[in-house]
Amino acid sequence: MAKQMTYSEAINDAIRLAMRKDENVILIGEDVAGGAEVDHLQNEGAWGGVFGVTKGIVEEFGRTRVLDTPIAEAGYMGAAVSAAATGLRPISELMFNDFIGSCLDEVMNQAAKFHYMFGGKAKVPLTIRTIDGAGFNAAAQHSQSLYALFTHIPGLKVVVPSSPYDIKGLLLTAIFDDDPVIVFEDKTLYGMKGEVGEGFYTIPFGKAEIKRAGKDLTIVGIGKQVYTALRAADQLAKKGFEAEVIDPRTLSPLDEDTIINSVKKTGRLIIVDEAYPRCSAATDIAAIVGDKAFDYLDAPIKRVTAPHSPVPFSPPLEKLYMPSPQKIIDAFSTMVGDNVFTTV
């Protein structure tokens, strides 16, 4: 049975299912409920996070399991790490991924390293939910897509769901995974509707999804950029080029095989990533595929990314900042010879 739901509702659904299934699952973060100890509020009508994603969860589970924290990211993230190590399965919300600056240590040096440093004797079944993405005119400190920083760090798993269906299944996998996982929710996707399975289901990590089959070009789109890739593919199709579009779904672990197999078929790869271009997920995938599928490549691997610049506020600048179908088509044009695509 499937049901139409927004991305935001799918997250809410996943969290409720997890909390019903296992009383060790708690939700912690800034205003994840909202209005703590406000007399007249009685949990109803509480915010449920800055975008209302977790609305209603405090009504069902109460404030012992849905914890509003002070604005103290290092404090509550560190708390979530050791709550995980001592028997809970916290879902810790880092409101915007940009705020990792206040709690990187807890994620990078504690959560990610406990299992290894302690010789396998500690487990940190922690899920961090965080918001990323440009496109909302939220400017330089609220629009970043910092998944590369986390993919760099061994010990973490990194999830970049692009659809309501995926976010529900991947979030449930994350919550019941025994390693620390960070899930990136693109703020511009919250309102997106799609089919979502009813009840409890999981989607395994490290399994990419082929969103569209094709033989002439492989496009990997990270997070919401998979839609930019699909739009480009539609336009390319009109010119007779069939692009295969892949959503990696998780960056760590990365499903190298699906991407490489596709490239073996198409001979061409474009990676679409709205994050900063240097030491990025785009360069990562390019390097891996460039190594392992070298003999199959008919053209250089192209990356369509943000420029090496902070995210600008002004709407027209932000629009220019982002990957676009046209930029993908331009990249493809240079791969197949400039003349092919001058008119698109």
Binding site: E30, D31, G34, G35, A36, E37, V38, H40, L41, G45, A46, W47, V50, D68, T69, P70, I71, A72, E73, A74, G75, D98, F99, G101, S102, F136, N137, A138, A139, A140, Q141, H142, P307, H308, S309, P310, P312, F313, S314, P315, P316, L317, L320, Y321
Partner: protein, 335 residues
């Protein structure tokens, strides 16, 4: 207090000259009208991004900045419009910035949450809660190393007082006796979380004692109280006597950000805040009762400000968006 013969002619009340009082009244009006205007335009959907309004808190920014010059620095928050105006930023440039235009104070690259004017000693609104606290230390440090008598003021919220940077910064200011005034704008909430819930202390200024620095809490619905306490704190700082925590009890008239339903707010408190507790109204009454600024004088200022703000909106609306070439300039001074 000097006696005056008729309304609007007193030379000063307390330490405050009529000149200063006019400046203060005008700045408060500028902030209020600026924010009300932005609120209205935002509702119509013409302003992009996240916007946090300062209306209701005017007495804090104005009462403090009344003691500062362009050489003194302030650090600000996500709710920065009031600090900008009080510190003398150009209102046209601010409005254009909020509209994302190339004529904005930051060429449209920053937006509401990042308005800055370093030349005016305004080190930037800041989207990161708590970030302004360490930044104020640096400005204080520059003053100390360069042996000037400039001060640094750190505006931060009650919510920010729970962030680690509060502790780190106040401690550093205290051990180095830096000329920093930590102005906590305690409006009772950090987003939808009450201060009483999120902070263990009764008052943010309660920490001053442990750090062995000056600390005080004032009712920031009264401009005069803020003005007086800030004056003393700035003076101490200029004389090398170290930092102060000045907690200002205030209220934000609008939601946390534009679009907030504010279900967590108490209706009664809100009503009082918007009526008898309104800092501008109180200042008006005070000025009148003390025969200090006349009703006419204030009305004239109101009208002047209205024109200014209308001009700013027009300026912003008529300004062009940044050129595409602007996308990757200003990333580095040189690269």
């Amino acid at each position: 207090m000097q006696a005056g013969t008729k309304a609007g002619t007193k030379a000063s009340v307390g330490d405050m000259t009529v000149e200063k009082a006019k400046w203060i009244y005008k700045k408060m009006q500028e902030i209020r009208q600026f924010e009300n205007t932005v609120h209205g335009i935002f509702e119509k959907g013409e302003i992009p991004g996240f916007v946090h309004l300062y209306a209701g808190e005017e007495a804090v920014a104005v009462g403090v900045c009344a003691h500062l010059t362009d050489s003194d620095n302030i650090t600000s928050t996500h709710r920065g419009h009031g600090h900008c105006i009080a510190k003398g930023c150009d209102i046209d440039g601010m409005m254009a910035e909020i509209f994302g235009r190339s004529t904005g104070l930051c060429k449209g690259k920053g937006g509401s949450m990042h308005i800055a004017d370093v030349g005016k000693g305004m080190l930037g609104a800041n989207g990161i809660v708590g970030a302004g606290l360490p930044l104020s230390i640096g400005a204080g440090l520059t003053a100390k190393v360069k042996k000037t008598d400039h001060v640094a003021v750190c505006f931060f919220g009650d919510g920010a007082s729970n962030h680690g940077t509060f502790h780190e910064s106040v401690n550093m200011a205290a051990i180095w006796k830096l000329p920093v005034i930590f102005v906590c704008e305690n409006n009772g909430f950090g987003e939808a979380s009450p201060f009483d819930y999120a902070a263990a202390c009764d008052r943010v200024s309660d920490f001053a004692k442990a750090y062995k620095i000056a600390g005080e809490t004032v009712d920031a619905r009264n401009l005069q109280d803020v003005y007086e306490a800030a004056g003393k704190a700035v003076q101490r700082a200029r004389k090398g006597e170290g930092p102060t925590i000045l907690e200002c009890l205030t209220y934000r008239d609008y939601g946390h950000f534009e679009g907030d339903t504010q279900t967590y707010k108490d209706k009664d408190v809100q009503e009082h805040a918007l009526q008898e507790n309104d800092p501008i109204l109180r200042f008006q009454n005070y000025a009148k009762t003390n025969e200090w600024l006349s009703e006419e004088q204030m009305k004239a200022i109101d009208a002047e400000v209205k024109t200014e703000i209308e001009h700013a909106v027009k300026f912003a609306e008529e300004s062009p968006f940044p050129e595409p070439s602007q996308l990757t300039t200003d990333v580095y001074v040189s690269y």
